[in-house]
Amino acid sequence: MSPTQVRGKVVATRRVGAYHHLTIAAPGIPERTRPGNFVALAVGGPQTSMLLRRAFSIYRVSEQGPTGGTVEIVVGVHGKGTEWLVGCRPGDVVDVVGPLGKPFALPQEPVSCVLVGGGYGSAPLFMLAEGLLARGCRVQFVLGAATEARLFGALDAKRMGCPVTVTTEDGSAGVRGRVTDVLPELVRRTSSEVLYACGPMGMLRAVSDVATAEGAHSQCAVEEAMACGIGVCMTCVLPVIGADGVTRMSRSCVDGPVFRGTQVRWSEVGTVPADTLGAPKVGVR
């Protein structure tokens, strides 16, 4: 569905652990949103020195509301733009472009799925779970983070009646360790056929590897630094193998952020693999 640009208005802000949950009235966006889409927000106000938008996975949408449809996002403070964003107060104006990107692909059959979220990466998984449940899929969550404050959504998952496994690297909640420590066993036990993942690159790669090893599909939502979010700048690329078997530097904002795990050349993200279409010849610059 094609994106739109709206002058959004902050409706509510709320702290959730280490994150900030923002609800923004952004009419026109909710009805077009599919799970895995993201929004790009202008930050800093009219005289800001920050020119570029910031991308956030859509956590929830609501098509109605006193102020029109709303979009909800979960923001971790990273740098100056997110710092500004979490300082917004209800009533403040935030320009929103969305929904952007390719959403998660849903299975045709009512299969069993594992949804893996790392940190705020779990945000888009709950809309996805709703979609999967509506198709009769079985859904289980694995939510991981460095520490309990950086976990997001365990309650949402429980509220949906889905089994949740939590891992934290410091053991402050759930199993001490990483999501991939518990994943293979869970996939096998639940005979899951699709793994969905959103989180840091290392996690995505590991989930993709587990899927391959267990004979499952994987759908991974990547996070690459983006300047435009709409496909015109070519900054957000990573090496992706096409249907024709050829590797191209693909734009994660329009060709992604969701890719099949097997499409992405995980170990070469950040480089241009030598066999990429149009790669510089060795020794030539």
């Binding site: 640009q5 020119l51 070519m234 957000c236 530097m249 329009v254």
Partner: protein
């Protein structure tokens, strides 16, 4: 009193455009993605990402860094190559009825010439922009635009391959001691107009990794940060070559910014980086420019091109 709509049409040599606002090369891909946000036929022209002869992967990531009121990019001219571009990308603009200013880039004079030759049969292409801010692989990677001789060679080669009706714009780099020397060399070689300016060479270092932020180490600086440099370049070039049409580029974010370039001597403008922050920027700038002219009682855009150069009648 009735406020008349100002006449925004503009003349770039023999190329007449209904209005002066364009996208900038590399900031609009080949146009299609922006069509979600505005009507591409509403603006003066769509400028496509510089295309090269062969497909190109571009550089490794990170390819960008945000800087104060600007950004650095080091894309490395990623693109599908001229064949795929003509087959898959350009027809979209043609079918839509948009005016296309096709940007070409090469590593050698021959590559530029062959790109121009491929475009020659595309009779509907409105104009060609020659991105000479590329390293010349045949001369130790020296950027063409930094040398009047190399710039001249590229421009004449391109000019020779294209029918006279297709105007050729040479896109200048600000990273030179005297931009008017390069401007003159391009015009003498047959350029019908000049696109002023491309990005400034810059770089950023990550204070945590202690390495350059960009995989390409240096990158091009763009955005409002560079506007004063761009306005100065347009001013200098217009002063040196008052009869040569100029497309002003660099940090344009609002209609008043566009007007600043027009007053400095530009007959048209391109909106680049601002599109990343606001995907409807080109059409918004056009609307704001129209309002700015109306508010000032200016009836024709053409009347104020270079107006800031006119001698002051009375000192205050």
């Amino acid at each position: 009193m009735v406020t008349l709509e100002p006449d925004l049409s503009t003349q770039l040599g023999h190329w007449e455009l209904p209005n002066p606002v364009m996208t900038a090369s590399g900031c609009a891909a080949a146009g299609r993605e922006l069509a979600d946000f505005f009507d591409l036929t509403a603006i003066g022209a769509v400028v496509t990402k510089s295309i090269m002869a062969a497909p190109r992967s571009g550089r490794a990531t990170p390819r960008m860094a945000e800087t104060p009121s600007g950004m650095l990019n080091s894309i490395g001219l990623q693109g599908p190559g001229i064949d795929a571009f003509l087959a898959n990308d350009l027809p979209y603009l043609k079918n839509l009825g948009a005016r296309a200013l096709v940007s070409i880039a090469g590593g050698s004079v021959g590559e530029f010439a062959s790109l121009a030759a491929r475009l020659a049969p595309e009779f509907w292409v409105a104009a060609v922009e020659v991105n000479i801010s590329c390293p010349n692989v045949e001369n130790r990677g020296l950027v063409f635009a930094c040398d009047p001789g190399a710039s001249s060679e590229v421009v004449s080669a391109v000019r020779a391959e294209l029918p006279a009706r297709v105007p050729v714009f040479a896109k200048l780099s600000p990273d030179v001691t005297d931009i008017t020397t390069i401007a003159r060399a391009c015009v003498d070689a047959g350029a019908n107009g000049l696109s002023v300016i491309n990005t400034l060479l810059g770089m950023a270092i990550d204070v945590d990794t202690m390495r350059p932020v960009l995989a390409g180490i240096t990158g091009g600086l763009s955005g409002p940060a560079i506007r004063p440099v761009a306005v100065r370049c347009v001013w200098q070039v217009h002063k040196a070559l008052p009869d040569v049409p100029i497309i002003g580029i660099g940090g344009i974010r609002t209609g008043l910014d566009a007007l600043e370039f027009v007053l400095a001597g530009a007959s048209a403008v391109q909106v680049g980086t601002a599109t990343f922050g606001d995907p409807s920027a080109p059409v918004r700038v056009l609307g704001e420019l129209r309002e700015a002219l109306a508010a000032r009682g200016i009836k024709r855009l053409a009347d104020v091109v270079g107006a800031a150069h006119r001698p002051v009648e009375d000192a205050r």
